[in-house]
């Protein structure tokens, strides 16, 4: 009789574990949304890079024998589509967790829904401050360094290196751009008044030339670009064509080698010289990093699992970094993970990640959901973004 009770209890627990959506004995199903097509499809490699890393892990036995199935839905970078596609992933596809979805407005559009459903919304491709809000939205954890923290790094750098700078800022008129701008002011401290002009653009704007002309006319000698790749390219090309040669600071999401290549092609290699930014990922195109373990692993995965895609796109390595963190989290959640167990593991990271620059780690706690608390300042010299000094605190 005792045996029967124990067996029944064991069965109950086993069936409860197996009843977790997206989890079977052989697979874990994760879902994501992002711009696979459309004007912002430059971020598509974030998703394909993550998938390639999962393919690599699956080929090496998966996570405790389970293969990771990664279902990607194209939202064309439209938050309303993000909501529809996320609901489909949860309700119809029955994913275990949403992982590595792209965009701030997009994550905010589904955060409440996912938290109500207690579906982990992990390692969101955003650095929005209110996405790391464990008290109210415990199921949502971002992955990018906080926007405010990144802006503050540039502010402190400008205040320290060029204290008389007259600063012009181009920013995206949404949470992302506004937080970077707020961080810049915070970092500038008492020099925040030296911002002589701020110009914004709407999320899907197709031309920022007029804004750049206005910034030039303001007399600014320092140009801070808080823009996504497409608008960042336009801004730098516009500055070049206007004959404006300010000191430049670029947000870290727009320093991909593909961006560099397009800017250089349209500015006779002048558009980025001396520009500064923040970096946390290895750059596979930088010859000084080619022998690092992370770059070698990255290139080998690209060659085997994404042979048709461009390995120069840093968004791929970002996707792999995110996927590495996800695999680490799943492993730490144990052989029979639950959604709550995975969330707990994601909220207690202390991970060395091979795709990050040396000395950087992903660290989370129940109180601090931003995994990236340190990053490097980088400067564009001799065709590459070169690391300057030691890691700086993001914040």
């Amino acid at each position: 009789m005792k045996f029967l009770v124990v067996a029944a209890l064991a069965l109950t627990f086993a069936s409860s574990a197996l009843a977790t959506p997206g989890l079977t004995k052989t697979q874990i199903v994760l879902g994501a949304t992002g711009p696979m097509t459309g004007s912002e499809s430059a971020y598509e490699p974030v998703l394909t890079g993550a998938k390639a890393y999962f393919d690599y892990v699956n080929a090496h036995g998966g996570v405790y024998g389970r293969k990771i199935v990664y279902k990607i839905e194209d939202d064309q970078y439209d938050p309303s589509q993000t909501a529809q596609k996320t609901e489909k992933l949860v309700e119809s596809d029955g994913v275990f967790a949403i992982f590595n979805s792209i965009g701030t407005e997009h994550a905010l559009a589904v955060r409440e829904y996912l938290n109500q459903k207690k579906v982990p919304q992990l390692f969101v491709g955003s650095g929005a401050t209110n996405l790391a809000f464990p008290a109210k939205f415990p199921w949502t954890i971002p992955l990018l360094p906080s926007n405010t923290g990144e802006g503050a790094i540039y502010g402190r750098q400008i205040a320290a290196k060029t204290p008389k700078a007259k600063i012009g800022v181009l920013y995206e008129n949404d949470v992302y751009g506004q937080e970077l701008l707020a961080g810049l002011k915070k970092g500038l401290g008492k020099r925040a008044g030296q911002i002589v002009s701020t110009q914004s653009y709407a999320l899907l704007a197709t031309d920022v030339t007029q804004q750049v002309a206005t910034l030039k006319a303001s007399g600014a000698d320092t140009f801070v670009v808080f823009a996504l790749p497409k608008q960042a390219i336009q801004a730098l090309v516009a500055a070049y064509k206007l004959g404006w040669k300010p000191t430049k600071y670029m947000t870290s999401v727009s320093i991909d080698p593909a961006v560099v290549q397009i800017v250089n092609l349209n500015t006779s290699n002048q558009g980025l010289i001396g520009a500064q930014s923040m970096a946390f990922l290895h750059d596979p195109t930088n010859p000084t990093q080619k022998n690092s373990t992370g770059v070698k692993l990255y290139l080998s995965i690209m060659k085997k699992y994404l042979p048709g895609e461009d390995p120069k796109a840093v968004a791929h390595i970002y996707g792999m970094m995110a996927a590495y963190a996800m695999v680490d989290t799943l492993k730490r959640a144990g052989k029979n993970p639950t959604r709550a167990g995975v969330l707990k593991a994601a909220a207690s990271l202390n991970e060395s990640n091979p795709f990050l620059l040396p000395g950087l780690k992903l660290i989370t706690s129940g109180k601090d959901y931003f995994p990236q608390n340190h990053a490097y300042l980088v400067k564009f010299q001799n065709g590459f973004w070169n690391v300057l000094g030691k890691p700086l605190t993001v914040g």
């Binding site: 499809s41 197709t206 397009i262 092609l265 048709g308």
Partner: protein
């Protein structure tokens, strides 16, 4: 004064006339690596079209009759790579495009092959996978043997058709991003075998533009451009030594087909072993292609020398002589471009003899 005014007016008229009838133009260059007879592991075709030229609808490139082609690659086989730039009218930017060239099954392209090459089942179809920032455009190239009057232009015809970039956004068939190709350099491996006879091989090409802003092909605007490949192209090397002055001298010639290349920079490297050539010097080839370099050497120390040269693509002013008839290229021959190429000489060994001892005076 009156004469000056008249001259000025004539000059202005000329300038305006040139502006009004700005001719379309393009260049094509072909090179092999190495530039040898009856061989070649890779062939590069480089097409450059100024942004001011009307967008191209079709480019047909004719492979000279001395060449042979291997087009038996299975579908999906990577046969080369392509690098290009295109001006995106939507973004107002020049964009870099790059990717692999793969063979495809001609049976999958009967409709587009008919439309572009006039042949339902091409002998081969190659796909140029042009990608930028995560987006890929697959551009087919059709390979066919020439027939009829076209056999006078070459043995094979390579055909590419491009969608119009300058029609309104949303027009069916408009190129992605309103992209207008400006420059494309594509390399294929193991496809072409060069002729056995030395000389200049002329690759004819025909460029057919669109009438601007209409999306309509303009056959009357078809023009000819030529790529000239001198085979073999090489740099020779010979060595000598002057025992009196302990001076070495290497000399040679930069040859291209049956001609020579003047003004080329020849790099000479030397060292104590054939595989460690660390010291270098340069010389410039003369009008008859010759070069000379010299220096001092320690007697009896064996020294190895090798010359190398890189010759850039160059316009050939006389290359458009005897253009194709107006029925074939109504807009005439606009350019002839000599191949750019690189070559290394053989390694030569020099062992300076021991200097004769001076006679002692008794």
């Amino acid at each position: 004064m009156k004469k000056l005014l008249a001259a000025g007016a004539a000059f202005c008229a000329l300038v305006f006339a040139q502006g009004a009838f700005a001719a379309n133009t393009a260049t094509i260059a072909v090179s092999h690596s190495p530039m040898v007879l009856a061989g070649s592991s890779s062939t590069t075709i480089h097409v450059a079209i100024p942004q001011s030229t009307d967008p191209m609808a079709a480019i047909n490139i004719f492979v000279p009759s001395g060449y042979t082609m291997n087009t038996t690659q299975a579908a999906g086989t990577k046969i080369g790579a392509v690098d290009a730039t295109a001006f995106s009218r939507d973004a107002g930017l020049t964009l870099p495009l790059s990717g692999d060239v793969t063979a495809d099954n001609p049976a999958n392209h009967t409709s587009d092959s008919t439309q572009c090459a006039g042949v339902a089942t091409s002998q081969a179809v190659w796909i140029m996978n042009l990608s930028v920032a995560g987006q890929t455009i697959a551009l087919p190239l059709y390979v066919n043997p020439t027939v009829g009057a076209q056999t006078a232009l070459g043995k094979f015809r390579l055909s590419i058709c491009l969608p119009p970039p300058d029609v309104p956004v949303g027009t069916p068939g408009r190129s992605a991003q309103g992209a207008q190709v400006l420059d494309a350099r594509f390399t294929v491996n193991g496809i072409f075998t060069t002729p056995v006879a030395p000389g200049n091989q002329v690759w004819e090409s025909l460029f057919t533009p669109y009438t601007p802003n209409t999306g309509k092909v303009n056959p009357a605007g078809t023009f000819e451009a030529r790529a000239i490949v001198g085979l073999p192209s090489l740099v020779t090397i010979a060595k000598s030594y002057n025992t009196k002055s302990n001076t070495w001298k290497v000399s040679g010639r930069v040859r291209e087909g049956n001609g020579v290349v003047g003004g080329a920079t020849v790099h000479i490297v030397r060292g104590n072993s054939a595989t460690r050539l660390t010291k270098s010097s340069t010389a410039t080839s003369s009008d008859v292609g010759t070069y000379v370099s010299s220096g001092k050497l320690v007697p009896r120390a064996a020294t190895y020398f090798r010359a190398s040269v890189t010759v850039t693509e160059r316009a050939n002013a006389a290359g458009c002589a005897s253009p194709l008839p107006a029925t074939v290229a109504p807009a005439g021959c606009v350019s002839a471009t000599m191949a750019g190429w690189s070559a290394q000489s053989a390694v030569v060994k020099l062992v300076p003899p021991k200097a004769k001892p001076k006679k002692k005076h008794k």
